[in-house]
């Protein structure tokens, strides 16, 4: 199929960007979206133009590196997939596809479709861990029984890949699904209890400091999240912070 692409081009973080139109031809419906981008880039290189920079790595939907806002949606129109798992069969011959970087004040553009998500790193550093040293004589793993239900729920929260689609989608650029998922994973496990109050306080404070917006519960993040992280995690974070503030 033949497509028209409208792509955000921006030389670097200090330069203003703009949308540029490209044409690609003979795209197979079996290609992944990023393979279509590879075809475009090969074409640009052979014409002596600069290829479009975009983040990607594992190309199997788990590393969280790929981003892109495609036709007005984070990771494009398909559900439960990252951009690298999106396939061209979701589009029709002759379509015009708009491709933009993830947008948020806290995610400045580095180049073209590449954004800086280091704000997420700093939130994790503020408390996204359990303080345990690597000694080789930690207590036996089975000495802490955890109900299957809690373990499964913690696992569901922990499947977050940190791609930032929640922020990109949110009309307020809120990072609460991301932070809520991490807070929840530890809040659900007995190992996480000791530091629970400090963790939620510090992570939320860092989140606010990074300039992410407020959650207004539109639920868009949950729909666009490639891993289907539930809004329940935000509710749990709210509870955890209330609990921490009351104690």
């Amino acid at each position: 199929m033949n497509l028209t692409l409208k792509i955000w081009r921006q030389k670097d973080s200090n330069t203003k960007g703009q949308m540029v139109d490209y044409k690609v031809t003979d795209i197979s419906e079996h290609m992944s979206f990023l393979e279509m981008m590879d075809v475009l880039n090969e074409q640009l290189i052979n014409k002596g133009e600069e290829p479009v920079a975009f983040d990607h790595d594992c190309r199997e939907g788990i590393c969280g590196m790929c981003s892109m806002y495609i036709n007005g949606e984070a990771h494009g129109p398909d559900r439960g997939v990252t951009t690298c798992q999106l396939h061209m069969r979701m589009f029709k011959d002759g379509d015009t596809i708009t491709i933009e970087p993830f947008r948020a004040k806290a995610f400045p553009v580095i180049k073209d479709l590449v954004v800086d998500r280091s704000a997420f790193e700093r939130i994790q550093q503020a408390g996204g861990y359990i303080s345990v040293n690597t000694s080789g004589n930690t207590q036996d793993a089975n000495s802490i029984p955890i109900s299957k239900h809690a373990a499964d729920e913690a696992m569901d929260a922990a499947t977050c890949i940190g791609c930032g689609a929640c922020v990109a989608t949110c009309k307020n650029s809120s990072a609460m699904l991301f932070v809520g998922a991490k807070v929840s994973q530890y809040a659900l496990l007995p190992q996480g209890q000791i530091e629970a109050a400090d963790r939620v306080r510090n992570m939320v404070a860092q989140m606010d400091l990074e300039g992410f917006g407020n959650c207004t519960n539109t639920g868009a993040c949950e729909i666009e999240c490639p891993k289907g992280i539930s809004l329940d995690n935000i509710a749990r974070m709210n509870r955890e912070l209330m609990k921490a503030s009351l104690s």
Partner: protein, 670 residues
């Protein structure tokens, strides 16, 4: 230089304990004056960085991704082995050690593997304490599954995302140290060379991938944890950015490269759909427990299927060739990875492949659905159940077991695997070979360490399922942080290493010259053009089945391709900006050298063992006729290559492998 593996004396069971008791330590006050560079932040690098920082060293960690959490360890699905014996099924440290050495076809170092098995249990304790949400049973205790044909259930897992959860665990440990200021994290940085001063590794040259700036970083020791080199095949299950540059650079600076030809080709991957394909996706090995692998018996049927004129479901049972069940009646579809991969290739090479490219075989769940359906009908007392009812009941069971994998397959291939058989084909997955290291995980360069998939040490010629995660974390959490102290205890008086020395000047100049060359070359072809060509040579001639003629051709072809690359490569953009094509160019340049050494190593090793199959070394008669034949008399050694300018001129050093605690046996799956 003669290789000294520095394996401690004494019985295998006591080696590690005794060694640890006697190892030199650095006192806490001195640790804060010692810097360590860790390159790569996957399971090995991430866990090492966190643990070293926790001990008090100043760590500088480097990742080419925008976060340590994105390292490709994250994609590991199945699980992690540990000799916990929670299931009480007779597992033990010795048994895990034995399985790993045997699974590796007796080409790994006994002492290292035993140590790995020994610390495996600690890994699980550590990860649980960190909050890794492993699967649990209804009693709240940890659940296990069995994996890869071993006789016990020792694999711990977190859904199909064990690698992700373990990496996030290591990442959280890193974050804690970053917050404490003990790790300085350099995301979006790529190491482009190591700096040696007086024979010791003293720092690295790195490129800031955002600004293009070339940076100098010094340290008292350098740890390489940059993963495997599977992308030398272009198509693999590795991430797009996975590369061998760090490993290859240290090889060129004196670290020996061991057993490069030992690569694992995984049988159950989603096949290539066209020339545009950029990477391959692995489907968990567990699918072979219920799926039957087949191709059409008649070549006409195969051709018709390839042209989509015939549906696989229309091929009658008697016209199907269940080639694994035919060739290996004892193990059937559950033969080890290498055997299954080669058998699929053999059928496809003979023209029986089942997709448009002719490189795919069917993995069929119809009989599993029927079997489960009948079972369920019996359990629920449904008499004279209709075929449809049986199908529905069976489908439910298959869905519960493999639902997420079937869904992933459908997303990629756009076919419903419940209705039509899946198509699979082998793909490069893991590289057992890597930088040679001694018992301390130190390379042949002083102060230069190599851990995780990047080193050669524990998997021999073939890696068992769920062992990669174990090795990465064992190296990073429990081995390196101890053994590195032995070296660093001599460095407490060294003081800060300056970066304004001639060694740094030279290394930086070399790096900059190369970058300038790429930018100014303005050749005719993109980097990918060469990478794809290299991949094709590697796959065709150094793939699942290798012979002398093909390997010699491969060496010549890779050399020619390399020369063409240096003449004709086209890298757009400039050096002082984010430039993904420039990054790729450097990586492919290194693959173009590594590939040739790979072929040379494969040529030199005229035996079939593990993932390395030489057509010249097969059983000539008897029940095993045509199967791989290992040659312990001539090849029970580690082939460690010393760099001498051209890959073809590399010099071989042999580390003889001794097996005192295990009896060597030929594998048989008939």
């Amino acid at each position: 230089m003669a290789l000294n593996s520095r394996v401690p004396e004494g019985p295998i069971k006591d080696k590690w304990t005794t060694y640890k008791d006697k190892i030199n330590l650095v006192n806490p006050a001195n640790k804060r004056h010692i810097d360590i560079i860790v390159v790569g932040t996957g399971l090995a690098g991430g866990s090492a960085a966190a643990t070293l920082a926790e001990l008090g060293y100043n760590v500088k960690a480097f990742a080419y991704q925008d976060s340590p959490r994105r390292a490709h360890s994250i994609a590991a699905q199945g699980g992690i082995n540990a000799a916990k014996n929670y299931q009480g099924d007779g597992d033990s440290t010795y048994r895990l050690f034995y399985d790993t050495v045997k699974g590796g076809d007796y080409r790994s170092r006994e002492a290292n593997v035993y140590r790995l098995a020994e610390v495996s249990a600690n890994i699980i304790d550590q990860c649980v304490a960190q909050g890794v949400p492993f699967a649990r049973d209804y009693g709240g205790l940890l659940d296990n599954r069995s994996f890869g044909g071993v006789l016990v259930s020792r694999t711990f897992y977190a859904k199909g995302q064990t690698g992700q959860q373990l990496l996030l665990g290591a990442y959280s440990a890193m974050n804690r140290q970053i917050a404490r200021g003990k790790i300085e994290m350099f995301n979006r940085h790529e190491m482009l060379d190591v700096v040696k001063i007086d024979g010791k590794a003293r720092g690295i040259i790195a490129r800031n991938l955002v600004t293009g700036e070339i940076e100098r970083h010094s340290a008292h020791a350098v740890v390489i944890a940059s993963g495997g080199y599977g992308n030398v095949y272009y198509l693999s299950t590795n991430a797009m950015g996975s590369n061998a540059t760090a490993a290859w650079k240290i090889h060129k600076k004196g670290a020996y490269f061991a057993n490069p030809c030992f690569t694992q080709i995984h049988p159950t991957c989603i096949p290539r759909s066209g020339d545009y394909q950029s990477k391959l996706t692995l489907m968990s090995e567990s699918l072979r427990n219920d799926g039957r692998i087949w191709v059409p018996k008649n070549i006409e049927d195969a051709k018709a299927v390839q042209q989509r004129k015939l549906k696989p479901t229309d091929i009658a049972e008697e016209n199907r060739d269940y080639f694994l069940e035919r060739r290996y009646p004892a193990f059937g579809n559950l033969v080890p990875r290498d055997v299954a991969s080669r058998a699929a290739k053999e059928r496809c090479d003979a023209g029986y492949g089942v997709n448009a490219t002719g490189e795919a075989v069917f993995l069929d769940f119809a009989s599993a659905i029927e079997r489960y359906g009948k079972e369920q009908a019996k359990i629920h007392n449904i008499e004279n159940a209709s075929a449809e009812k049986i199908y529905d009941l069976g489908k439910k069971i298959v869905e519960a077991k493999y639902g997420n994998l079937f869904q992933m397959y459908e997303k990629i291939v756009d076919e419903d695997p419940y209705k039509t058989p899946m198509m699979i084909y082998p793909a490069t997955h893991y590289t057992m070979g890597g930088i040679w290291v001694d018992y301390n995980l130190m390379t042949t360069v002083d102060g230069l360490y190599c851990i995780g998939e990047a080193n050669f040490s524990d998997h021999g010629a073939n890696r068992l399922g769920a062992s990669a995660l174990m090795q990465g974390l064992a190296d990073g959490y429990f081995v390196l942080p101890y053994t590195i102290g032995d070296y660093l205890s001599h460095e407490i008086r060294t003081g800060k290493i300056p970066t304004d020395t001639k060694e740094f000047d030279e290394a930086e100049k070399e790096v900059k010259d190369r970058i300038d060359f790429f930018i100014n070359n303005k050749g005719k072809h993109s980097v990918d053009h060469f990478h794809k060509k290299l991949g094709k040579i590697m796959w065709d001639k150094c793939g699942m089945s290798r012979n002398e003629k093909g390997l010699k051709e491969a060496m010549a072809e890779i050399k020619a391709l390399r020369e063409e690359f240096w003449k004709e490569v086209n890298v757009p953009g400039s050096a002082n900006e984010m430039n993904p094509e420039l990054e790729k160019a450097g990586r492919v340049a290194d693959f173009l050298e590594l590939g040739e050494l790979f072929a040379k190593d494969a040529l030199e090793r005229n035996e079939s063992c593990g993932g390395h199959f030489r057509e010249e070394s097969v059983e000539l008669d008897g029940e095993q006729k045509g199967e791989a034949k290992r040659n312990d008399k001539d090849y029970a050694y580690v082939a460690a290559w010393e760099y001498k300018g051209e890959p073809a001129d590399a010099v071989l050093h042999k580390e003889q492998l001794e097996f005192k605690d295990i009896e060597l046996k030929q594998r048989s799956y008939k």
